[in-house]
Every structure is written in structure tokens, then in C-alpha cells.
């Protein structure tokens, strides 16, 4: 039904900035792949959460191309407005659900709760396996978020549920860096505090600051779980798993549908374990987790994929203590 659109140009418009080693970057990778495999011109615009920049960026983007992949949270209103203004252009909104009156925006929504649920299980199983080096007898695990916004909260929410599913007696300590996403020193300090409070493993949801968490784990000879990309080899033997979010792959999938004309505007693509949008990645040069743990988690993973086990989705609970 969509008239001829130019598929030779693609814009990747993000509200924040690249360099989070997370979905912005992962998305960028996907865009670059599209560029290579389909020989299309791609452009990336970063808005650094600057309200003054997003609007003109959108305007510029629609002037430049017909296909816009956008990470819009914070700027949903502008996105809706422009999508209604250009109903024939393709807007794919990533990581949140945005619905414009004309229902032309397609949203890709990542079920971070699912991967985080598995991470929670892993952590809980780890802290209860006192045979592991350095693990104390208290059943305490921790999670560190870069901020307290709903995206991060969703991770924490899933993590807590996963842990409780294994053993309701496991205590989950949370810390937030209050927006200091790039302050690795602060991330490390927060982690050290959690370890001092007898946590055995910490799940980091804090981008650059989170690397500080992983290094704290190495320094204490304890454990951490990475996020967004496979960070298991950053601190071999200490990062036991990573909850990855494969935005790039999803973007490529969507673009493929655009290419072969099977693309439908206005739909909500829920991307989870099932389609590999998110996952928990154990692969590492040096895996210290006993096979038993990994198997348990993988079982749960399969159940979730098969729909035998449903993971609660976050909706606004305060997960910070």
C-alpha cells in the first residue's frame, strides 16, 4: 500500500549519544551492516538528550531519507508529530512503544525483563553455591543501575524476579548511580560497597560506569554479570554471564522486511529471547560456573521461549528498595 520509497538511504537517529557499548552501539552496528550488505548510505545523528537538537534532527532526517530508525524516548511527542506529517515515510522506533494517531510508526520493543530474569536466576544460583571460590554463606546478590529510569528499572525488576524464582530467601541489594553513566570510578565504588555488604555477584546495568563494576569484581575475586554486549572476557573468570540486547540484528531484520516489501507500518514487534532480540550469554574464554547452574538457567530459557514460563513485564513499580 505504501507508494515507492527510496531504500538507498537510512538514518539512525538517537536521542542520546553513541558509546554506551549497549543498544545505541549495537544498533549502530546493525545500521553499518545494512550499509555494507545492501549498499545503502547510512547516517547517524546523536542528540545527546538535547531537546533543542531533536526536532531539527528529525526535520533534517526526513529531508535526507525515507527510512528512519529512531531511538526516541524523551522525544516521543516530536516523533509522533513528524510521523503524522509524513505518513509515507518509514519510522521504526526502537526500545519503546510509540503510537501515532495515523499508526504509521513501527515499534521494536525489547523484553529486557526476560534476559534479566535469567541473569537473576544465575546470580541466585551462584550465591547459593558456596563451593564456588569466594562465595560466602549469606545469600546476597546486587544490581547496579546507571539511573532510576523505567528502562533500567525493567532490568532490575526482571533480575529480582529471576532471583526470587530460584530462592525467595535471596536478598537483592540495589544501587543507582543517579545518572552518572560515564563515571566508572563511581560505578566501582558502588560495587565495592555491595561486596562489602556480602554480595557475591553483581548485575551491572550502567553502561560505561558498569565496567567499573566488572573491575571491582576482579579486584575482590568475586563475580559480576555484564550487560548489553558480551562482556564475559573483559574480566575473565569474574564476569560469569552477560545479558545481551541485540538491537543490530533486529534492525537488520526489520530492514530486510522493508526490502522485500513484507514490512507493515504501525505494528509492535516484541523482541525477546524467542527471536534473539535479548539473551543471556554464557560463552566465555574461561567459564567458572558449574555446568549444573548453566543447565538450570538454559532450561528456564527454553521454557520462556516455548511460552511455558512467562516473565512478568515491568510497569512502574519502584524496584529501588
Amino acid at each position: 500500500q505504501t507508494p515507492k520509497i527510496n531504500t538507498n538511504r537510512v538514518v539512525y537517529l538517537i536521542n542520546g549519544a553513541l558509546g554506551d557499548n549497549a543498544f545505541y552501539d549495537s544498533g549502530e552496528a546493525g545500521i553499518k551492516n545494512i550499509g555494507r550488505t545492501y549498499k545503502v548510505e547510512t547516517r547517524t545523528i546523536e542528540c545527546n538528550f538535547d531537546a533543542g537538537k531533536f526536532q531539527p534532527a528529525l526535520d533534517a532526517a526526513v529531508q535526507y531519507a525515507d527510512i528512519i530508525f529512531v531511538i526516541s524516548y524523551g522525544f516521543e511527542d516530536q516523533l509522533k508529530a513528524i510521523a503524522d506529517k509524513y505518513p509515507n515515510k518509514i519510522f521504526v522506533n526502537i526500545d519503546t512503544v510509540v503510537e501515532n494517531p495515523k499508526k504509521t510508526i513501527t515499534s521494536v520493543f525489547f523484553l529486557a525483563e526476560q534476559s534479566s530474569y535469567l541473569a537473576g536466576m544465575t546470580a541466585a544460583l551462584l550465591t547459593t553455591t558456596t563451593s564456588l571460590k569466594g562465595v560466602n554463606k549469606d545469600k546476597i546478590i546486587g544490581v547496579i543501575g546507571g539511573d532510576t529510569d523505567p528502562i533500567v528499572s525493567a532490568f532490575v525488576f526482571g533480575f529480582q524476579n529471576g532471583a526470587r524464582a530460584v530462592d525467595p530467601g535471596v536478598k537483592v541489594l540495589t544501587k543507582s548511580l543517579g545518572g552518572a553513566w560515564d563515571d566508572s570510578a563511581k560505578g566501582k565504588q558502588a560495587a565495592l560497597q555491595l561486596y562489602d555488604q556480602k554480595a557475591d555477584v553483581i548485575y551491572q546495568v550502567a553502561a560505561a560506569a558498569g565496567i567499573g563494576v566488572l573491575q571491582a569484581a576482579a579486584e575482590r575475586g568475586l563475580y559480576a554479570i555484564g550487560v548489553d554486549t558480551n562482556q564475559n572476557d573483559l574480566e575473565p573468570g569474574h564476569v560469569v554471564a552477560s545479558a545481551v540486547k541485540n538491537v543490530g540484528a533486529t534492525i537488520e531484520k526489520v530492514f530486510k522486511t522493508i526490502k522485500d516489501g513484507t514490512y507493515k507500518p504501525g505494528q509492535v514487534i516484541n523482541s525477546g529471547l524467542a527471536d534473539g532480540g535479548v539473551d543471556l550469554d554464557f560463552t566465555a574464554k574461561q567459564q567458572v560456573l558449574p555446568k549444573s547452574i548453566i543447565d538450570k538457567v538454559m532450561q528456564a530459557r527454553q521454557q520462556i521461549i516455548d511460552g511455558k514460563l512467562t516473565v512478568k513485564l515491568y510497569n512502574g513499580e519502584n524496584v529501588w528498595q
Binding site: 546523536e46 537538537k53 526536532q55 526535520d59 533534517a60 532526517a61 524523551g74 516530536q78 529510569d149
Partner: protein, 345 residues
Amino acid sequence: MKRRLWSGLVGVVVALAVGALIMLAQGYKPLSTYVALFQFSLGGIGPFTTTLKNSVPLVLTGLSAAVAFASGPVNLGQPGQFVFGALAATLGGLYIRLPAVLEIPLLLLLAIAGGALWSSIAAFLRRAFEMSEFIVTLMLNMIADFFTAWVIAFPLMDRKAFSPMTPQIAKSGWMPDLGLLSSSTLVMLGAVVLVWFVFHRWRAGYEWRMTGQNSVFARLGGCDIHRNFLAVMLVTGALAGLAGGLVVMAGPHRFIKGLGANYAWDGIMIAIMANNSIVGTLVYGVFIAAIQTGALGMELITNVPSEIAQVLQAVLVLIIVATREYTNVLLDRLSARRQAKERAA
């Protein structure tokens, strides 16, 4: 006056040249980059009005800094006063619903009050405990930042949203667009005129200037320097607050995460670029806004990464100021030489 214009232009030219060299060194095409920069900032009505709209927070915070520095107080609190102005306007927009003719002025007043309120804290601490407003305002910036972050993350959080932000303010509180031109631009221009008049024509302005240049003299001359200090702090806080309010009312229509961006610090920089002159602040404010708006074009057309745009801005600012000042010195030296020659002859 004319001299200042010329040396300023020389500065811009030299700066662009140096910027070009840097881009060449990094393998980007300077010319097409500058063209893109121009197209997206000043090339046509649309881009130009966008530039003007983006200049609003820069110019207003710049004014705030200029007036403060020229009158004595080292008020570096624009960032904090900015977000408090924005917060006040947002609160008003969320809970008060009136027809636009009333709503808009009301929200602007609230923004002004919010900024002034925040700066008054620094003024009070200075007056009561002789605490240097320089440090106090710096600290209050951080505190204001975290406080607003909390407000939009918990009490005023929009449940439907995916990142910390308040719900939208009443439609009647949105700054209307007059064609392509955002009415916030007009408010800014109004503020510039008013501030110029107060500063250069009012008795208060006279006393502020004199106090800024030599407070002992002003005091002996019969100026109440303490009252003036308070007045200046409030006024400059109000200007920064107004900037915040306008950004909310003309932009996302709600207080969202990262709203303050780096406006206020750029504003302070602009004020100093302009030697705290009010007209100068307007000029340089629009100029910097043009660069920032045009940077978008660079990213899009010539694929220059944003950090290069950032470097470029730093270089431009530095070189412009340096060249401007230095041309003046050189010109003076030259005329001196000339006169000396003819005396010696």
C-alpha cells in the same frame, strides 16, 4: 564600536580558517562541511528561525551572566536557575489551566520566579554568612540538577513514559509558532531590549555598573551596594529561569531528562566572549547557536562526527576571542608606531 565589529569579523575569519586546517588534517572536506554548516543554520528562513529558537536559552543565560559579571556578583548559577525556572513553568503548566493569553504570561512569570528563587539562596548565604557566591552557585547547580532529576523521576513522573519526564503541560501554555518563527524568539528579543534599557538608562542600572567597577567608590557615592547585590542576583536568576521556562514551553512542552543540556555554560561563555556587553551577548549567542544548529548538517551531509563539531566549536570560540583582542592590540601598536615615526623624523 566599528573597530569592535571589524576585529570581531577578523576573528571569525581566522577561526574558520584554523577550523578548516583541522578538518583537512583529519581528512574531511572543509568547504562542503562549512557549506553544510551554513545551510542548516542560516541558509534560508527555516534553518534561520531554528537557529534563532535554539539561541533563546543561550542568549538569555548569557544576558544573565553578562549583567551579573558587569555588576560585581560572580553568579555562575545559571545552570541551576535555568532548571528551576523550567521546573516552575512545568508545575504551572501541569496544574493551572487558563486561556493562552493568561496561561503563557503566567508560566513565564513562574519561570522568572523560579530562577530568582534559586539565585536568592546564593544571595542570602552571601549576605548572611559572607559565603562566596562563586562556590555557592556552583554547588547549587549540582543540587538543582539532582533535585529536578528526582522530581521528574518520582513525584511528577509521567507513568506512560519510558524515561524520566513529566506529563505534558497544558496546550494553552505552549509558545505558539508564528509561521516558522517561534514566539519564544520574540520573548528573548524583548528581554534583550528591556535589559539593555535597565542597564544603560535606569538609575538602578547605573548603580549596578558603577558597583561592578568600583564598589568602594559606588558606596561612598551613596549607592546601597547590598541592595544592589541582591537586586542583581535576583534579576540574573530571573533571566536564567526565563530561559528554562521558554525551553519547556517552546520545546518538548514538558520537563524531560537532560533538558538543561549545556545551555547555561555556553551562555556564560558567550557573555565573556562579548565582554559582558548586552548587544554583544545577543550577537555571539546567535552565532554560537548557528554553529550548534549547523553541526547537525555537518553530521548529516558530510558525515563529520559530532565530537569534531565539538572540537570545532571550542577552536572557533578560542580563536575568535584571541584574534579579536590581539587585532586591537596590534592596531593600537601600529598607530603608536606611526606617530612615533613622524615625531622622530
